[in-house]
Amino acid sequence: MVTARHIVVPLLLALASASPVRSEDDLGAMWGTAEAEARYYPIVTIPIPPGVPLRPGGLEVIPDGRLAVGTRRGDIYFVKGAFDTPPRPEYHLFATGQDEIFSLSWRDGALTATTWGEVTRISDADGDGVADRYEALTSNWGYAEGHEFAFGSKHDPEGNIWVALGLSGSYESHNLFRGWAVKVTPQGRMVPVCSGLRSPGGVGTNAAGAMFVMESQGPWNGCCSLKPLQEGAFLGHPASYNWYPFAPHVPAPAVEPRSDSRMAIERRRVKELVPPAVRFPYIKMGRSISGFRTDTTGGKFGPFRNQIFLGDYALSIILRATTERVNGVWQGACYPFREGLATGIMNVEFTPKGQLVAGGFTTTSQWPVRGTEPFALQRIDWNGVTPFEIEEVSIRRDGFLVRFTLPVDPQVAAQPGSYTITSCTHVYHAGYGSPEVDHVAHRVSRAVPAEDGLSVRLYLDQIIPDHIHDFDLSKVRSRDGKPLLHGKAYYTVNEVPLE
């Protein structure tokens, strides 16, 4: 029987990083940049024929160039012609009958799907174009309550799938390894990696190959964040401490974090605590960030090569992030990229042509989504025109280096007053989300544009670890006098370089 609870409990609670909200809740102001964005990155809708319930969860491009879409209904479609302009999609039903599919990855002649309860290798042995082998690589985590999501990565170089397991009901950990990330080997062995997750929404690597998970705002998480999956790490939410006895090779932390503290303070107490690499200020930079992919198209998608692109479910937007490793700790920045997609974005995938496919759906429950389509498959194409954008913010011992996609007006760029930099942090606590606290206005002492105008070195009076540094560069102009397409960037400082 489907119980009333199962119907009422919105399946996407864990994805939506907000506290329970009603549909009339404000989704926050839009950036208001959609029209300008469209001049560089038009959105192309890939039509879905009637009768195809294509609510995308997992996306993958298979070797013959078709797009594989794993759906909420548990089907996998192969879509030919999705990358054509205009798209001429032909849908082929490859596999059916699975639980909700959240992730797809191709390797060695098979698709590996991650669903609520299983990592399944799906292949077509008799070659008739329809799957006939469904091999469970693992189903060894507990799955017995709502919200116990499971998001999988692409295969890592060793062929492992990394899976992030959401908490029971998104608050507690009642079933085995809820709140952990595990690694599933090609032989089907499940290796617990790290604890401390709340309600993840996507797993993937950065350009350096380091594995990250997208975490949702909630208890012990002031906002959505990109967290590195490191062996033995504790990622912040202590509900999953109870599974260390089931992972004997992962040493249990000696202490638990204290509530109503700060991440920087608790890092000193809990040695295993690894801070989020990139924090996404709530609403301003996403509300329920989901699947993400790194742009390895070699420039086909524009000036942001090797950067991370992330979908957001509630706001129907795409965000951008950069990461760097400082003193052995991952940190980085996030940036607005594209708004105005048609539905709640569950996942994204780059195409061989350098387009970014985004797909997802809305639900009939009270979870708000800005996009209005019940489900959609869309594509963001780069039309070859370079927008004037902040390309990347990276940290220096005494300030930041800000790179731009086009040369800046050197005179404006050299004035410290062209840069408004503030910072704040979140309370690290068991309560839901966090206000932004400990606000600081930073003084830019010097701004030195590079000769080519593509970067500016900023010197600050202070850099504060554990703070999100909010860059407002809207006064900066390009060499031909244009403002930035997006003037904002948010850099999460965990460490300050020693050199």
């Binding site: 489907v2 399946l11 009958g97 089907g188």
Partner: protein
């Protein structure tokens, strides 16, 4: 004992109670007599099918002879008696009908119900003489059984729905359509209803509509097979003018009531009478509801009146003037306020809208006046009307008067027609001796029952009279007579006979406007015997079979005794020329061609037609996969070649115009071969392979020629795998414990994201628990997943490894138990009687040292051993067909255990599950 007669009224010994009854009876009867006495069109006997049909005149006369049951008084041939319409059963008349109506109807049937077939049997009496006879007959009928007659305030909200249903479900094709105020618009051409509120109480009418044949066995009032709610709504509509005393009328609204009760997101739920103000006066209303009360407030001493109100929101009006208004809000709790009104003594119209919403909703209304201290309004000051409406009181039967009535019933010959009452009337002149120039058909006065016949009707009957006993009808006449008598032509056109009245065709509606007239008007009966298989015709006529769910009109049931003969007769009467059907073997190649034609890349039939219960996008035309079940093959060929021949307005295209090759090049484009291929393909019915382009949007997973799987949360936990098999038996396998958990039959499953649940029937649920285990002792509990054994069943050596599909997409489940690799396959097979069951084979590959353990083959409450190889487990029969034996353990869940000793290598364990 005093009784409600004028004579009794003069008695002085009456108790106060009987006086009250008398007063009620006088008023009630007066009201009804006034209503009944209103001028109404004098109509001749109405048999509505007669006017609409083109029967020969003498045949119309025969219909009248049978409809009026002439043979009941004039004994004749038994076949005429059998064919004639039975009069309403009267045993329960006292519970069904208002006593005043009975009296009035008996006294003057034609004045009371113009058009009725009931004769006036008191024609020889003076008006003064009629009254006591009618009264005594009423007492007699009410003496037959205890009466449960009651009257209820009508639910005006339900009546609004009822009006729509009355006009759309089909009632208004025999009975007259009504205007907005309930007035019958075409009474002379309809079975008369008149003012039903003086005839029925709500419960009595509902009971009649639910089982009309119990009262009227001849099926002229057919059973529309409506659900209880629709019947109640129609009853509220027909009785909307019922008046009963009460304190207040209310209407209950639900939805976003804080936007106001007229808002788009608010709907009226129900209405009726309430004892007073406040939510407590109704059955507990749900949150987000509003109640509008209307009634009259009686003021005893004039002056300024204060009203004190606590509510989330409310509007109080007196005589249309606003006294208090508080706008409701869902974001706060109740507020308190007060208002004043200067009121003269007497009645004042009062209206209160109360909003039961927001935080902790609560209500109180108090009034303070010159002669009343502040207090809730005393209900005795409230009334739904300023008129004094008498309450219905149970009728009191006077045994003496009833006995007189019984004698009248016998002497007047009532018992000849109403033969369910245990009274015998002596027969009248025998059929053979009748002289139609005298008596009932003469048109003149005389000592005979008076039928309200028109001269034309008398003429028709005169033509039929002599032949009525043995009319010697041919099949066509027989069909025509039945279709006329039952008024089938009110809804169905039949060439040469008649069809729906043009002025009522607009009443037909449907849920699929895209289908045009075919989506709203019931199908024509022209040639229906050559179109439908006898099986399906019988299904529709006798067993309520129905495929046109998009029609709002309902095909009623008339009763097998009344229409059973049509199944055979229609097939004999309706003949079409043979179509040219090519001789094509129904092999796989031909079926594949049919599959290609039906699908999206062929003729794309499923663009409009349902397929095996699955609905295409915007249309929901008849299910093509069920066509061979309904249709004769010859008709199918003729129809597909020229659809407009059978349905001039059809939107179905002609794919082979003039027999030319079609645009799809399957089978050379040959029309006959392609149609035959479609027929061959569709003849697989529910097993027909799903055509290309069939929508997957439906929540129901339909199994066709290959197995279907769905996974997720379900009745057996979060890791269920449901498998639907083409033989229409299904199972649920728990991938968490690697155990068979459910078996069922029929429809497969419904799915929603991450969930599925079985449909169908004959569901067997087996308890949780792993399949293999080494029991230390036979007393040990069989291990199963609990909340806290987190590592179970991996800690028992289990690992689920997924499944492989065979050519028919049936899974072989694969899992590891220690060193034993298991392949677990369920095959859907049929036994000699055609009954489907599962044959299960477990192929165990022991890759380690020899090992022994138990296999739990089944478990349940009532587990019994038939032999070493045969067991029953509740309704499941289990047979071990490999060379293994089982034992039975008792307990809360008894189980069938099969001890296994596995050498290294393969062992196969085979079982059968039948239920």
């Amino acid at each position: 004992m005093a009784v409600g007669t004028r004579v009794a009224l003069n008695r002085t010994s009456a108790t106060p109670k009987t006086r009250a009854f008398r007063a009620w009876w006088v008023v009630a009867r007066t009201c009804i007599l006034v209503l009944l006495g209103m001028p109404s069109p004098r109509a001749s006997v109405v048999v509505p099918g007669l006017d609409a049909t083109q029967l020969e005149p003498w045949l119309k006369g025969l219909v009248l002879v049978e409809e009026m049951n002439c043979v009941a008084c004039h004994p004749g041939d038994a076949s005429l008696a059998a064919r004639s319409r039975k009069a309403p059963r009267l045993q329960d008349a006292g519970s069904r009908l208002h006593p005043a109506f009975i009296e009035s109807f008996v006294r003057d049937p034609h004045g009371t119900r113009p058009g009725t077939t009931m004769p006036d049997v008191l024609g020889t009496l003076t008006p003064a003489e009629r009254d006591p006879v009618a009264r005594s007959l009423t007492h007699f009928l009410l003496s037959l059984r205890p009466s449960s007659f009651s009257m209820e305030a009508p639910d005006t909200v339900a009546a609004t729905h009822g009006r729509r249903l009355f006009h759309s479900r089909g009632c208004a094709h025999c009975h007259s359509p009504r205007d907005e105020r309930g007035k019958e618009l075409e009474p002379t051409a309809s079975v008369p209803l008149g003012a039903l509120e003086v005839k029925y109480g709500f419960k009595g009418l509902v009971a009649f509509l639910e089982r009309p044949h119990a009262v009227r066995p001849s099926g002229r009032m057919p059973d529309l097979q409506l659900g209880r709610q629709e019947i109640e709504r129609i009853a509220h509509y027909l009785l909307q003018d019922t008046r009963v005393p009460g304190r207040l009328s209310y209407t209950l609204f639900q939805g976003k009531v804080w936007e106001g009760i007229d808002g788009d997101n608010v709907r009226a739920e129900r209405a009726g009478h309430a004892d007073g103000f406040g939510a407590g006066s109704l059955a507990k209303p749900s949150h987000h509801s509003a109640i509008q009360y209307r009634g009259w407030l009686r003021v005893t001493k004039g002056g300024r009146h204060a009203f004190h109100l606590t509510a989330n929101g409310a509007l109080l009006e007196l005589d249309g003037n606003q006294v208090l208004q508080l706008k409701p809000s869902d974001r706060r709790g109740p507020k308190t306020m007060e208002g004043f009104a200067d009121l003269a003594p007497g009645w004042h119209a009062i209206r209160l809208d109360y909003y039961h919403t927001g935080h902790e909703p609560r209500f109180s209304l108090e009034m303070e006046g010159p002669d009343t201290p502040r207090a809730p309004i005393d209900p005795s000051r409230l009334s739904v009307s300023t008129d004094d409406i008498p309450a219905h009181e149970p009728f009191r039967v006077d045994a003496g008067i009833a006995e007189a009535g019984r004698r009248h019933f016998e002497q007047l010959g009532c018992a000849r027609c109403h033969d369910d009452v245990q009274v015998t009337s002596s027969p009248h002149v025998a059929w053979a001796k009748l002289d139609v120039r005298r008596g009932c058909l003469s048109g003149g006065p005389g000592p005979w029952p008076r039928f309200d016949l028109s001269p034309q009707q008398r003429e028709w009957m005169g033509l039929a009279w002599a032949r009525a006993e043995r009319p010697g009808l041919d099949d066509r006449q027989q069909v025509g007579k039945t279709l006329a008598a039952l008024n089938c032509v009110a809804c169905h056109e039949r060439a040469g006979l008649g069809g729906p009245r043009p002025e009522r065709v607009a009443l037909f509606t449907g849920t699929q406007p895209n289908l045009g007239d075919q989506g709203r008007i019931p199908p024509p009966l022209t040639g229906v015997g050559a179109k439908l298989t006898p099986g399906w015709l019988g299904e529709v006529l006798l067993r309520g079979g129905r495929q046109r769910d998009y029609l709002d009109a309902r095909m009623p049931r008339f009763g097998e005794a009344n229409v059973g003969h049509l199944v055979g007769l229609l097939a004999k009467v309706d003949v079409l020329e043979p179509a040219s059907i090519p001789d094509l073997a129904h092999d796989q190649e031909v079926k594949d061609a049919g599959h290609a034609l039906v699908g999206a890349t062929g003729l794309h039939c499923i663009a409009c037609h349902m397929f095996n219960g699955q609905r295409p996008g915007e249309f929901g035309a008849l299910d093509v996969a069920r066509a061979p079940e309904r249709l004769r093959k010859n008709w199918f060929h003729l129809y597909l070649r020229q659809p407009a021949r059978f349905h001039p307005t059809t939107i179905m295209p002609a794919y082979w115009p003039d027999g030319r090759p079609g645009s799809v090049q399957v089978l050379g484009g040959d029309a006959g071969k392609q149609i035959e291929a479609i027929w061959a393909y569709l003849s697989d019915g529910q097993r027909a392979r799903k055509p290309l382009g069939l929508s997957r949007e439906s929540n129901e997973v339909i199994v066709a020629d290959v197995a279907e799987i769905c996974r997720g949360q379900g009745p057996v936990g979060y890791r269920g795998i449901g498998v639907g098999y083409p033989e229409r038996i299904h199972l649920c396998f728990d991938a968490g414990e690697m155990a068979l958990r459910q078996l069922w039959k029929g429809d497969f499953a419904s799915v929603s994201p991450g969930h599925f649940r079985p449909r169908g029937s004959d569901l067997i649920t087996l308890p949780p628990g792993i399949p293999f285990h080494t029991l230390a002792t036979l007393d040990e509990d069989w291990p199963a997943k609990r909340k806290t054994n987190h590592a179970f069943p991996q800690d028992h050596g289990y690992q689920f490894r997924g499944y492989h599909l065979d050519a028919r997409r049936r899974p072989t489940f694969r899992y590891q138990f220690g060193n034993v690799a298991v392949e677990d396959f369920f095959e859907d097979v049929r036994n000699a009687e055609g009954k489907a069951y599962f044959r299960r084979s477990l192929r165990l590959d022991n890759q380690g040292e020899p090992v022994s353990f138990h296999f739990r083959a089944a478990a349940g409450k009532d587990v019994r051993r038939r032999s070493d190889h045969e067991f029953t487990c509740d309704t499941l029969n289990l047979r071990i067909i490999s060379a293994h034996s089982g034992t039975v353990r008792d307990g809360e869940h008894g189980d069938v255990l099969v001890p296994l000793s596995l050498p290294r290598g393969h062992t196969v364990l085979s079982l059968e599950y039948q239920w």
